[in-house]
């Protein structure tokens, strides 16, 4: 057993109703235990809110404050409607990757639920936000709130100046391309609020001058039709960034709006890539921390039973043929994998010694922290999914080729299938295979200024969605003809869609 000490103590109150004093007691105990397990967190700001406020938080996609837009209103109405009809319960908590880390507790929760949520959000998610490499590289927790304030004020200033409808239409167009506003490989820069504002003004002036340079109508003398005719020199994956920097007709404020949408997309990008890990990590820790307190005699039996009841619901994995099945539950998979990692370190089997020779016998806590810090879902699964978890979930892989009449079972949970399943499940969490690969291919800078995007299908999967509509939005941003072409696996190029005027 490791060096985690149990400090036996008296039982905390186990009344079902919470009060701020009780929350405080529990928070302190959980914090004490979390420190034993070396959970390194941002300071916590725990806010108690009502169900209505929770719905507000939902509809603003978890941002504590956002600019106004009708689509958030739509989400709010949807959430409210579903909640009222009992289609869904509200999440017990929402946690925001910020410093201090903001966690919302719902007023309706019982005391055991609040304790669970504090352990889950304020110590689980919080430590994940602070330590995972993706969040460390891509997001700046200390400036996000400031940035959102800046964005909100900027948008409402634009609305005053240019009219609500104009701004809303423009944001619609940006939202349509939000998934393509992310840098996947480049490292983003961290800047503070004041700098952001100062730079924003400089940027406006500078950007416009750059654009003017690019779109000068009088060609320079030395302009020979060689490399300079191919622009951009390499395909660009960040379409919104490309538009912000190079679209010929945008006003400075419009460029700034593109930037805001792109920044927010970037902020949420790591969360998309670490669903399994993030939820698994938080679930593992609420389970472990509260068990620790229970072992110390600080939680009563009935208190623990309610916690376990909720915990079991959270990690329930319906089977493929259940009517509740909607894919793999990230809580269940993540929790199972982290728990299994601990088991491999502490009680390895002969199989584990073959599969994870490095892990067997290592300090489980260090191993878990290392795994949490240095992976995303895709790499986490391909590194750590063990045969035992595959067997426990009875995972099987299906190949669905639209050219075939039937589906094929490619692998099941047996010795021959483990590697295959691990590899395929990992790919299933690879965002670059889930989102259509569309990049900026070319701009005819010297002729009609048309912008060409290229779609490269993965596994022959065609492009879906309302392509025509998205192209119209793209046209609004670009201002000249836009085309979307597809490159087949043989390398043939065909035009998928084009839009040359707003109708």
């Amino acid at each position: 057993m490791s060096s985690i000490a149990f400090n036996m103590g008296s039982c905390l109150s186990d009344s079902p109703d919470w009060s701020f004093d009780l929350l405080h007691d529990y928070q302190q105990q959980i914090a004490r235990v979390a420190a034993l397990y070396k959970l390194d967190t941002y300071p916590n700001q725990i806010e108690v809110i009502t169900a209505e406020q929770m719905m507000d938080a939902y509809s603003s996609i978890g941002m504590p404050l956002g600019y106004h837009h009708w689509s958030y209103g739509k989400k709010f109405i949807q959430t409210e409607q579903h909640y009222k009809r009992g289609y869904m319960g509200l999440a017990y908590e929402i946690v925001i990757n910020a410093n201090p880390c903001i966690a919302y507790l719902m007023e309706e929760n019982t005391l055991p639920m609040q304790a669970l949520v504090i352990a889950h959000a304020c110590y689980g998610h919080n430590s994940f936000f602070k330590n995972n490499y993706l969040f460390r590289t891509w997001t700046d927790a200390s400036s996000i709130i400031d940035y959102l304030v800046f964005a909100k004020n900027y948008v409402s200033r634009c609305e005053e100046k240019y009219g609500v409808a104009t701004v809303e239409d423009f944001l619609d167009s940006c939202h349509a391309l939000m998934n393509y506003g992310v840098d996947r490989y480049k490292r983003p820069q961290k800047i503070s609020m004041e700098e952001e504002q100062k730079r924003q003004e400089e940027r406006e002036a500078f950007l416009q001058s750059q654009v003017n340079e690019l779109w000068r109508t009088v060609p320079g003398k030395a302009q020979v039709a060689t490399t300079s005719n191919i622009f951009p020199a390499e395909p660009q994956e960040n379409i919104l960034y490309f538009i912000e920097k190079h679209a010929p007709l945008l006003q400075p404020w419009q460029r700034e709006l593109v930037r805001i949408v792109r920044k927010i997309a970037q902020y949420f990008y790591p969360q998309k890539q670490t669903q399994v890990m993030n939820e698994g990590w938080a679930t593992f820790w609420h389970y472990t921390l509260l068990h620790h307190l229970y072992t110390e005699g600080r939680l009563s039996d009935r208190f623990m039973l309610e916690i376990l009841h909720s915990h079991t619901n959270v990690v329930l994995q319906p089977e493929y043929n259940s009517k509740f099945y909607s894919g793999i539950n990230p809580y269940a998979l993540g929790f199972a994998m982290f728990s299994d990692l601990r088991r491999i370190c502490e009680q390895p089997t002969a199989e584990d010694k073959v599969w994870f020779p490095d892990l067997v016998g290592s300090n489980w806590l260090d191993t878990l922290h290392f795994a949490m810090q240095n992976f995303k879902d895709e790499s986490f699964i391909s590194q750590y999914l063990s045969p035992k978890v595959i067997r426990d979930f009875r995972l099987f892989a299906i190949t669905d080729d639209s050219k075939e009449a039937s589906l094929e079972v490619a692998a099941i949970h047996n010795a021959e299938g483990y590697q295959q399943i691990r590899q395929r499940l990992s790919a299933q969490y690879n965002l670059s295979q889930l989102e259509p690969n569309i990049q900026v291919q070319q701009v005819n800078i010297n002729t009609d200024r048309a912008l060409t995007l290229r779609y490269i299908p993965h596994n022959g999967i065609p492009l879906g969605g309302n392509i025509k509509e998205v192209m119209r939005h793209l046209h609004r941003l670009w201002g000249f003809e836009v085309r979307l072409e597809q490159q087949s696996s043989e390398g043939n190029i065909s035009i998928l869609a084009s839009c040359s005027e707003l109708s």
Binding site: Q45, I77, F393, D400, E408, A410, G460
Partner: protein
Amino acid sequence: MAHFIDRRLNGKNKSAVNRQRFIRRYKQQIKQAVSDAISKRSVTDLSSGESISIPARDISEPLFHQGKGGKRERVHPGNDQFSEGDRIPRPQSEGAGSGKGDASQDGEGNDDFVFAISKDEYLDLLFEDLALPDLKHNQLDKLVQYKNVRAGYRAEGVPANIDIVRSLRGSLARRVAMSSEKKRQLRQAEQQLAELEQLAVPDELLRRALTKHITELKQKIAAVPFIDSFDLRFRNYQKRPEPTSKAVMFCLMDVSGSMDQATKEMAKRFYILLYLFLSRTYKNVEVVYIRHHTQAKEVDEQEFFYSQETGGTIVSSALKLMLEIVQQRYNPQEWNIYAAQASDGDNWAEDSAPCAKLLAEQLLPLLRYYAYIEITPRAHQSLWEQYQQLLANHPNLAIQHIREISDIYPVFRELFKKQAA
């Protein structure tokens, strides 16, 4: 380190702005849904909001995502029967197969987007662009009651209206004004007298003069009256014209044998609309139901809509009864009177001309608005023609023809549309 914040007292309507924007953006679709919904409503839920459904495709946000087809590899849990290499038929209703990803992005089903709007939002949308007929003109004209309101003070009035505080304040001011100079002289004289008496040999003559002067001053001061009619202030009242907020709505309906239940239901919807409409403008709206065949009778709502009668039709009986009720209970000086008559157009042939005469000469001058709707798939009969002749001279009369349920709302809008200024 952690601290707790109680946010429950903060406003909960953080999304209100976004919600309004949504409704504004989809106003056209929502309005369509609202007018569809009116034909399904019943009298009993006058005060509720409405559930609105918009086709989801109209409000989806376009995005690129992977389409159907191609080669997909998925891992699923819970294998209970498969071995490697098994081939299984493709499930029929398989979705896009995306188990992961943002629910909000993939959540565009084919279902309609259904949500509830509040009563006020519902009514606003329903009655947008509608106005009460000729209200402004009539308001200035006669539909005015006078109300006594306080309007400052005045120097004359009846004793009952004396304002004591104001009056005493005036009295005090007058007394100060009238006696302060004398009081100053009095103080001066008293001081001189005191100084005189300090001397070893006081000037007896001067002393007497001073004493006399003091006595006189004291008398003069005492003579200033405590209250004078000059001080009195009376509360002032003015009559202020106030538009009355009382309205009465007469529902007239033919219940003779030719009116079947479906026709009555249509009429009912029209009355619902009228009632909703009036209750938006007037604080209290009374409803009088008059049904008639050959004789007219005032009834309650239940009987009005649901009891079955047979017999011929004499419309003028209802008009006469209405006139009587107006004269007895609803003084046109106080009440805004509206009437809506629904009929299938049948009338005893000889009665139509007297109807029109009664309406034109006696009723219409008393009414805000008289709406006649004819619910029939057939050609118009004599009553319609008679009413039509009145239209030119009576702007507060309107007649419309309804063939089926979906006509009701457009007709209602037509009747009450905002009159161009």
